[in-house]
Symmetry: C2
Subunit: 657 residues, 2 copies
Amino acid sequence: MDVLMIVILSGLLSILVALYLFLHVSRRESGSEKMREIAGAIREGAIAFMKRQYTALGVFTAAMTLILLIFLDRETALTYVIGSLCSASAGYFGMIVALKANVRTTNAALEGLEKAFPVAFYGGAVMGLSIVGLAVLGLGVLYRIFGDPNLILGFSLGASTISLFAKAGGGVYTKTADIGADLVGKVEVGIPEDDPRNPAVIADNVGDNVGDVAGMGADIFDSYVASLVSAMLLGAAYYGVSGAILPLLLAAMGVIAAIIGVFLVRVRRGEDPGKALNRGTYITCLLFSILAFAVIYLQGYDLNLFYSTIAGLVAGVVIGVTSDYFTSINRRPVQVIAESSQTGAAINLLTGFSYGLISIVPSIVGICAATIAAWFFAGLYGIAISAVGMLSITGMIVSSDAYGPIVDNAKGIAEQAGLEEEVVGSLDLLDAAGNTTKAITKGFAIGAAALTVLSLFASYAEIVGIERIDLMKPHVIVGAFIGAFIPPLFSAMLILGVGRNAFRMIEEVRRQFREIPGLMEGRARPDYARCVDIATKGALRELIPPSLLSIAITLIVGFVLGVEALGGYLAGSILTGIVFALYMANAGGAWDNAKKYIEEGYFGGKGSEAHKAAVVGDTVGDPFKDTAGPSLNTLLCVISLVASTFAPLILRYTLLR
Amino acid sequence: MDVLMIVILSGLLSILVALYLFLHVSRRESGSEKMREIAGAIREGAIAFMKRQYTALGVFTAAMTLILLIFLDRETALTYVIGSLCSASAGYFGMIVALKANVRTTNAALEGLEKAFPVAFYGGAVMGLSIVGLAVLGLGVLYRIFGDPNLILGFSLGASTISLFAKAGGGVYTKTADIGADLVGKVEVGIPEDDPRNPAVIADNVGDNVGDVAGMGADIFDSYVASLVSAMLLGAAYYGVSGAILPLLLAAMGVIAAIIGVFLVRVRRGEDPGKALNRGTYITCLLFSILAFAVIYLQGYDLNLFYSTIAGLVAGVVIGVTSDYFTSINRRPVQVIAESSQTGAAINLLTGFSYGLISIVPSIVGICAATIAAWFFAGLYGIAISAVGMLSITGMIVSSDAYGPIVDNAKGIAEQAGLEEEVVGSLDLLDAAGNTTKAITKGFAIGAAALTVLSLFASYAEIVGIERIDLMKPHVIVGAFIGAFIPPLFSAMLILGVGRNAFRMIEEVRRQFREIPGLMEGRARPDYARCVDIATKGALRELIPPSLLSIAITLIVGFVLGVEALGGYLAGSILTGIVFALYMANAGGAWDNAKKYIEEGYFGGKGSEAHKAAVVGDTVGDPFKDTAGPSLNTLLCVISLVASTFAPLILRYTLLR
């Protein structure tokens, strides 16, 4: 058990480094009064959203804890609360620093791009390192106390449910604000993006934070924890204590690699900041590989487990790169979509839709290759370990990802504060780098989620003690059919929610332009708070029905059709879930960049008919890539964990056996 | 074996009745010279397409026969050729009569709606009755000769591959022509639909025939045959000869019910023709139930098999009705989509997309309920029998469905020939009835395909002799993942094909308007043949890569990962295939009707911003509902049958066992 101290200490170290970076960023100058005023409004809005969301989450968590206490056991209820708290604090902490880093990045940009970059990146790293730190520390301590991975399942369920709310709620929020701000501001009234006269502008900036920082962090946090817990479960079942500890040890090595990686990221003068970010990721991968080999070799584990780890890591990078291919502005798919916009919005949509569907092929092939390789090396446990390997670099991935919305916000603040072209220009460069990372991270997050849910699927079977999930049994295939419609149904309900909420926002923005005298001329201030409030309330209202419905159907299938059919249900939901997650994320990203490509001057440039068509595609893609798509990863984790956690009850009370 | 004569005779009877109706329709007057000239151009185009398609099909069939001869056995090769011939002749025969019935319907409409209706309906019935007649006759005779359903598998494979080409090729053709005609004609040049000055107008009319008549007929023919063959296979395995004959007997009862049903369809004066069509369907269902009960009771089968039959029949009707709910102009979903068009094309698309996804839920629940019920009554054989029950009314369903494109064509001819408002008006009423039937038929076709492929899935396992398909084995779940991306990949490739081909068509139509002097003023005739040629060549070019790819991947999965993984592959493809088929068909239908709803005067009516937005949605939905969506049914049958037919080879040479 002594090696467990390595795990716990690495978790603590990561949190300490995150704290240090937090203070480092906080101590920077926050700029002129105007800049601070804008940043203050964003902070206010974000904190209002978080407050309301955390209140709702508190109620939900309390209810869920009660259910776990009554129907299951005290340990699960306790670890559930701790998991929820860790997830919520990681999100909150990440948000707070992002809200400080944004304006400080703007201010640093006055002295040049090289000065601004580390402020934004370290701001992101606070999120990245606190996520992995909290996860590793929490799991290490809980395993030290309970010594049984089954009881830690609650930790993962807690993390996942909070993530689902953060991701889906944040996703609805950010797109509500975005569509509201764009459709009235840019299209109807004709003012530029981020114009302070737009009543929804603050809500839009807030959205970048609650959707992208807190949401994406929560998404990866949840896969990270779930992959570790399910690997621990399978490890304990097959190899006892040493099998349960290896995933934690690998995670600890990943944490150390990420800490070193973060400090090595630096932009050289005149260099593309995207390159610096990618370099950081590759260095972290390399460091992790060395450390993983060392730990597996020194602790006397089978070297095949090392190969499984590397299989996952390689798959993660491959999936990230291919999803970049389908969404990059320099590649054929995006350019074909842009070209097709000349024939109108419909052909733009059909083309983007098709490329989105084709884009799932290489990623799924990557996932399959990693699965087969990991299984070949070390059986089902190998698959779980490959998921851990893939997610080992989470600290670095989240750091570069959270950087994106920070520079996006920084740019917004610069524009609203009316800073010079040059400053906005260098923030634009930083922002472009953020967008590339974002595409790669999304692919990575989906790939990681896929391997994680496969590993959860294996540990589900282990927990319920079934030898097989046999598709020849009609109730199993019926379970698979029901599972198959959950991800599409969930996506559809969220997207309709965005539509409804955006409609309310549009009405409000129109009202303000109509009723506040002097707003258009810049003589009066719009009522930002009202827009923030609409987005906030609506997001919570719209995320609850699909989330509860998915959890309820999972339990109904289990209690009515039994554990084997529930296994089929999980498999069905994983299949369509991964397909829809990849397709929505990549189609959305491709539409977005096709629009940007035209804005660079191709096919008639800004204002042309092709551009108008591409704007339609981009608007359709927005909730695909920022709301529904990424929420599916978390949804899959949640329903797998609900099935596993409630397995003892289902085994006892099911109708069909 | 004497009861087999009932089967063979009912098949013959059906073909004779079809011939009688063919002569009945042919003998009607074909109208003025102008009308005959237009009809002649459509016929020429359609026959040109069929000729080219059948040449390509001939080459493909010859190659496939050779492969079957070399690698499998003579019997399979022979039944394969016969199946292909039956499918091709049914399609050809149906087309020929549709091409005669269209102008005769127009001419009859001069004397009123009640006179025109039977011409169109009997025209459709030729297709409906020849399909079921050829299938029942072919299967009956082949079973009489070979006495082993395994050898008849080739018949089904032949029918399915021809269907895939007919459906996918017809689907690409019809949308190429439709988009080409609309985008340049209606949008750019501003002339009405079906205007004879539009160079693509004949291609568009041809498309209705090759896509909707030949394509839809082929689609249902293929499910019909596959459901019968797989039920025969399972029946023979479980109950010997009597188990193999029951499906044929039930089909024979369905044929008789449909023949009676067809003659009972009549429009009363002032009645909605849609009602008459629905009444025909309900009467056929009732008659079939009585006959099925009689045959099961008199032949001494277990009555539980009757309940399985009825479970399928009820599910078919339920699925038809719910898909009507999501696409009907009088229901909430379509009206909400229409309303959302006021906020622009993007919101129209997102709303339609979401309702399309939600629409899959009731249909899948219906399929699951039928599966569980049929299994409860009579095991896996019961599931196969329920598919037969659902498809028993195919004769009637195809008759009412093929009626749609005939009246659509008749309306086009009336408009191009410049007939009075009143005639066009009554043809409009007949056309509207056709659209409702079309929505119901599509839902029915998908539901039938779903039950059929489930039944094929069960018979696949029977053929390869595996007891289970265990998702806990990683190569099985990898197979399922690969299967899951086949339907989206296939759809995407077809849709991109439509886009590419439409682009070629648009260029050509623009060229003609530019280069043919006096075309716009109606003084010169456009070059219709050139447009027909572009649509024809392109359709064939675009359908071959996705079709061959799907077949190739199926074989690769089998030979590399083995028969159990191939079972997982089939399950994966069925899950996403049904999801995408339902979602594409229903979203497409809903967008179409949302546009029509606005054209009725709501939300600003024709020409308003809402209408423009709805037109974008309709154009996106077109290849969804008419190309990709319905082709998926056939695709699933084809890959299941490829897996089953090649099973002996795969068992011998697979890498993984």
